[in-house]
């Protein structure tokens, strides 16, 4: 019997109440992450990746944002399965930072400038692991060692402004990992860093994942990074998951036209663009008002009348799933 995944998001819908009225930045996200696995969540800017991850963390901005539909099932260390979307916030707080941790995109601003990095890591450790002050500081030093920050014993007393962006992102990782989470959400953890540092951080996250067997939900724009770190990929478009596949399958034979379009934007693919498919560099059109039909239909070269009028479900097929009426025809 296969054990249930660590995280299983089922048909998630998130609504925001803003001054301009209600918006629904996430409206049909289904994805799962198993223990020890890295799942990449990709999609263009504004497609709802961060909102999805904040919903998992229970950190949607209040009182504007709320989960309107769907479940976020999480398997706790105790093997108990809980629905994070329906959890009281006091319970959620106990999971946050201990069983589920998150790394944010902006290493330069994500750490508190007036607290030493040791204090910031120790705070989390004391909260969840019940250690005293001395034990927590010791743990902080261990964590800094673990993320390969040289001279950790001294640097534990430093403040964020004394460190480079790459070092700060290592501190963020140390902070996130300090209570041995079983799920790590990394929201574009390397976007703000230069390429060599980026590679080091990716290697670090990957090493930690292998060593402790945690699941990683890795949000990124960068398909190069996806190819490198992910086991499976979930593609989002306009608040919906349009395709989920093992990484090799997705790169070899994308099923959703949006995924193909994304892959064609990769520099390596664009060069051999003479293979009949005519989409290069950028996907024409913009995300329109999403109504009943397929959200991508207005920009899709394969769309037919039915794509615009009937709602399209995410169709599962073995390890893969796609939200497209015509994927079989298009592939053939």
């Amino acid at each position: 019997m296969i054990s249930p995944p660590l995280l299983a998001i089922d048909d998630l819908e998130v609504r925001f109440r803003t001054e301009e009225g209600e918006s629904t930045p996430v409206r049909g996200v289904t994805l799962s992450v198993a223990a020890g696995e890295t799942v990449a969540l990709v999609g263009e800017s504004g497609s709802g990746k961060s909102v999805t991850s904040l919903a998992v963390m229970g950190l949607l901005p209040r009182p504007a944002g709320r989960v309107a539909r769907g479940r976020i099932l999480f398997r706790r260390r105790s093997e108990q399965i809980v629905d994070l979307a329906a959890m009281p916030s006091s319970e959620m707080r106990k999971l946050r930072g201990s069983e589920i941790a998150m790394i944010f995109q902006e290493p330069m601003t994500s750490l508190n400038p007036v607290l030493s990095i040791g204090e910031q890591i120790a705070e989390s450790v004391r909260q969840h692991m019940g250690l005293g002050r001395a034990g927590a500081v010791k743990r902080a030093v261990e964590m800094l060692d673990l993320v390969e920050i040289p001279d950790a014993r001294r640097r534990v007393d430093e403040y964020p402004h004394q460190m480079s962006g790459g070092m700060r992102q290592r501190v963020m990782i140390a902070l996130a990992m300090s209570c041995n989470p079983s799920l790590l959400i990394a929201d574009e953890p390397t976007t703000a860093l230069d390429v060599t540092i980026q590679a080091q951080i990716l290697a670090l996250i990957d090493r930690l994942r292998r060593e402790v067997g945690m699941g990683v939900l890795f949000i990124t724009h960068n398909l190069g990074v996806v190819a490198e770190v992910a086991d499976r990929v979930t593609v989002m478009y306009a608040g919906q998951v349009v395709e989920s596949s093992p990484v090799k399958d997705l790169f070899r034979s994308p099923r959703h036209p949006y995924t193909s379009a994304l892959l064609n934007c990769l520099p390596a693919r664009a060069k051999r663009g003479a293979d009949g498919r005519r989409m290069v560099q950028s996907i024409p059109g913009t995300v329109g008002n999403v109504g009943e039909g397929c959200a991508f239909a207005p920009r899709c070269a394969h769309s037919i009348e039915m794509c615009r009028t009937s709602s399209v479900a995410l169709e599962a097929d073995g390890e893969r799933s796609a939200r497209c009426l015509r994927w079989r025809e298009i592939l053939a």
């Binding site: 998150m102 994500s110 400038p113 007036v114 030493s116 989390s124 909260q127 402004h161």
Partner: protein, 313 residues
Amino acid sequence: MWLTLGRRIGGLLIVMFLVAAMVFFLTRLAPGDPAALMLGDQATAEDIAHLRQVYGLDKPILVQFVLWLKEIATGNLGQSIFLQRPVTQAIAERAEPTFFLALFSVSIAALVGIPAGIVSAVWRGRVVDQIVSGLAMLAANIPSFWLGLIFIQFFAVRLGWFPVAGYGDPGAPFVERIAHLALPATVLGIVNSALIIRFTRASMLDVLSDDYIRTARSKGISEIRVVLRHAFGNALVPIITVVGLTAALLVGGAIVTETVFGLPGIGNLVVSAVLRRDYPVIQGALIVVAGIYVLINLLIDIIYTFVDPRVRY
């Protein structure tokens, strides 16, 4: 850090020199001869000339200035024309009510203003915020003399809880004298809390949307901890500034409040000195007040280094 401190103190001396020059020349610009004023209508020209000589008022103005600078540099602020005693002594006698009034007022203003500002920011747009912001607006616009009179009428005259006015007998026990400050300090505390509320609210709102607050929340710590440790810790610099400046202004003597409550403080001293053209007292008081103002600013800078590591290194 020591270098910065040295530079600050150098700047402070320059500021004090400029203040001294301004104080001296501006008081001389005002019309009216203090010697003539002092001696009254019946005085002869000789009497006036004699008195001018005694106080050095007959010398060229630049000479007067240099002599005066030399004196204040050694801590001698001269002799009061009317009070028949050294200016330093006159100021020292009046310092106690002003100092404690300032201390109590600013404490009340901070104890009311900071929590109110935090609450207002955390529940931004909600009913509490609207109430607090409304009260702050009201407090900012109430004239202190009016509030003072209402307080006297109600708490002192009607209820008899506090002395009506004055500062008691100089020989009375300290606690008894201090009791006279309860009402004026509350009035000034309320009036000055308005600015502190607004600064605290704005500063907290600014900080609460920062990325590290989201990080703090992602650690699963309590919301109180997020607000007080992570947000307030970062909002402190502007709050300290406004509290410090409030204190500095109050040390200068809350002239209106001192007058309403009949407190024999610095503000009171300056007002009577102005009416009598008692140059040495006016100048001396202004120098002392400016000096305290500048010192409080230095103190604020030093406190910054404790709350913000980015200033320290």
